[in-house]
Symmetry: C3
């Protein structure tokens, strides 16, 4: 089939450049590698005395957080500021929408203020797609986490981290452990690992925290931690939402830790040079033991560092994609074919 699938049609320009960043499904391996390569340059910026580049100077980035998340908001805010953008943060839950304005009217108003980018966090799966389909061509949309669907910048910073420590994805076995059912992070990671050519992706979870269609995830399913972790190169622990405990999905924190919490003992079944990752914030003694989180194989804090760089990369690439659209449009109008 040569027709691009819907999500890539929304995310890419006609000549394949990123213009929105919503989901990793259907994106190509070269594009993901381009993001990782671009991020590498921004990792250097973070190490300089002056951590600032002028790429987004005079651009307006609007943080549209329908669901609040201090950490994710902070990383995007820092990434935008290091790109020299002006940042406006809107806690939409408390703002104009509460005056009875529709979401679309809020968006139209922000567009009219000449916003260049919306960084969207939303409790509903698909909301950033809806927004990307509705915004004017000039405005780039970045998904900062939507419902149970996707968290693509998190997945890409994870890919950056894996490539940094493992040199690439070929032959790699990666295990993702924990609450797969509710995790937008896991969903995005599985897509990214498959696109980038990892040898095997495994998910490890109790049956109650696996989706009904677990077989369709694109990963091998394990309910036993020791079996699942056997011989892997990378272990990605997911954060266990405390709310799940209160529902009937889980027995107890202690029981979960005994069965799925990552300890040095369980980690010993992975490859000797396996790295340990976690999207944070970590629950010590729930999904991960402190001996592992603070141990020599943990790269959890490096993920955070790479995360700023990956967000700078995605933001600057999307703005650049939008500008190439603008230029193409201007050229068409010049030659009398557009309007």
């Amino acid at each position: 089939m040569t027709l691009a699938p819907p999500s890539s049609r929304v995310q890419l320009t006609d000549d394949g450049k990123l213009r929105h960043f919503l989901s990793l499904e259907h994106l190509s391996r070269p594009l993901l590698e381009d993001i990782l390569d671009t991020a590498a340059g921004f990792v250097d910026v973070g190490g300089r005395a002056i951590k600032k580049v002028p790429l987004l100077r005079g651009k307006t980035v609007v943080n549209l957080f329908f669901e609040s998340s201090t950490r994710t908001r902070s990383t995007f805010e820092l990434a935008a500021k290091r790109l020299s953008a002006d940042v406006l943060t809107l806690d939409i839950a408390k703002s104009a929408t509460s005056k009875g304005e529709t979401l679309l009217d809020t968006l139209r108003n922000l567009e009219a203020m000449a916003a260049d980018m919306f960084v969207v966090r939303h409790q509903d799966s698909g909301a950033p797609f809806f927004i990307a389909e509705q915004v004017t061509p000039r405005v780039a949309v970045i998904n900062a986490g939507d419902g149970r669907h996707a968290h693509p910048t998190q997945a890409m910073l994870d890919m950056y981290t894996i490539r940094h420590y493992k040199g690439g994805f070929e032959g790699l076995k990666v295990a993702i452990v924990g609450d797969i059912l509710h995790s937008r992070v896991a969903r995005s990671q599985i897509h990214a690992l498959n696109i980038l050519g990892a040898e095997e992706v495994r998910v490890i979870a109790p049956r109650t925290l696996l989706p009904a269609d677990a077989d369709a995830l694109g990963a091998t399913v394990f309910t036993d931690m020791v079996q699942g972790i056997e011989d892997v190169d990378v272990v990605i622990m997911l954060r266990l939402q405390k709310e799940r405990m209160d529902s009937a999905l889980l027995p107890s924190e202690g029981e979960f830790f005994r069965l799925y919490g990552l300890t040095n003992e369980k980690l010993s079944h992975a490859k000797p040079d396996a790295i340990v990752m976690h999207p944070g914030p970590i629950n010590r003694g729930v999904e991960i033991a402190s001996e592992v989180a603070d141990g020599p194989r943990s790269v959890i804090l490096n993920q955070v560092t790479f995360g700023i760089a990956v967000r700078m990369a995605v933001m600057s690439m999307a703005i650049s994609g939008q500008e190439s659209l603008d230029a193409a449009q201007a050229a068409r109008e010049e030659s009398g074919h557009g309007h």
Copy 2:
């Protein structure tokens, strides 16, 4: 009478330059036209790849919001940042005043921090005037809406919009429709339209939403929508505050919409090229039908775009007025006449 009236004495320097922007009453037509002309340059800035000019670089703009308004705050914040100012936003209701400090002491402290401008939103009519009378000569005060009194930047962006689409004000008939009684926007619009030479200003509202002294407004009063809208060039719909519904002032939303809500049918009584405006956020199906809000005669979103430019104009003109005062003062001191 050659004596300048009190409000213009506060707002202007001795040689007639803007130094505060509090109310449109008593301002001259050339001054309002100067604001509109200055804004035109900033509309261009909003269309550029780098939406930033250095006019207020190194200046400190303090948003003093005693009444909260995400939208108005955002537009002033963006305007200030595009002028390269540093912006400090204070939600005064939750801040130092709650520690028992007086308003004056809060102001004096912000002045002592070398603030250059206060953007004031207040639930009490006249509060920005009080503040302007109290601040040190160096600090410019911009009214971002006070009680039922004035919202002059909103009115000026409306004037910009009208001039943009109609070329000027001569011969224009303008109808303002809705809750005139509680609207600071309407009050400022009527002043502006009369100063700029509109032929006729009409207000259209049920008796319960008209002030007792409606005849003194400077506008022709209509209680019938169809009669009032007849042959006008511009229809400005006001936002209906839901709170009014609960009081005895209004029958019901449905009844209000039937009598005063703007539909294509009612709009057909205006001139064929009449434009439709609204200060936002709009209540669809209450004061305006979606067919009109989203229709070809609506310029509601253009108002938002022009609003950033008008705020940039007013802010830069007031700072420039304050600086000319400073320079004059320095010259007087130099020549030995100062104190």
Copy 3:
């Protein structure tokens, strides 16, 4: 004793440069004078048309406010912006820590985002010390007030103010009046005044608002206001926390004002050219009469102005101290002695 005491070991580099600013105890007179001299340059910046210097351009300053304080946060935010830093403000009480993350994990994450400075306000005495001991060498920590322990930038702006009006500290008698027991400000002021060589420091308070070890404060203790204020050059009034009234510590506001509130009458017992200071926000008619607060001897608002400059000085000196550490470390690694 030649060994540096613990607090100065944490705060200073091996060659005696400031790298954190946590407490004035054990700091040397030349260092405090260096801070005051550096601040003098920044007072000039605050008077310029463009109040901005590029010293912290491309640096990330994180305001970590565990205890909320709009005024202190605003002054640090303005100081950082005038140094051209990027500022991220975190209201920690409502943020990641509430997700069950430990303080240390929050710090490690912010470090991983390449933060250069933490400005810490905390309800617990010693928290900024704990943080300074834990952060990576690259990150400077500034104490913006911790429990009852210290508020060193407030004390240094007070010292700046005294030096500005009195020319120096030699021969000076300074009285600090009010709630000594709960005041971190008083504790820091007494340290600073003794280090800088004031002749006599007095504290004046009712017994219930004096610490049990008042004699160890480094100040002469008075319970009678008129006796205590006799012949002093500087009167520093402390803010009376209204909460204290409800506890059994104080009779009533009226009674406190009668005994300890600063009036012109009480002030007449000080030297004729004595200055009056207060950290703000003031309680008029509780600890200070308006006739004094607004009178010719009050320098309360000048303190605020100097406060921005002193914070700019401390922030730029600490960053510079950290950078000299980095450079020394790099040199050691170059010559093969590092690790």
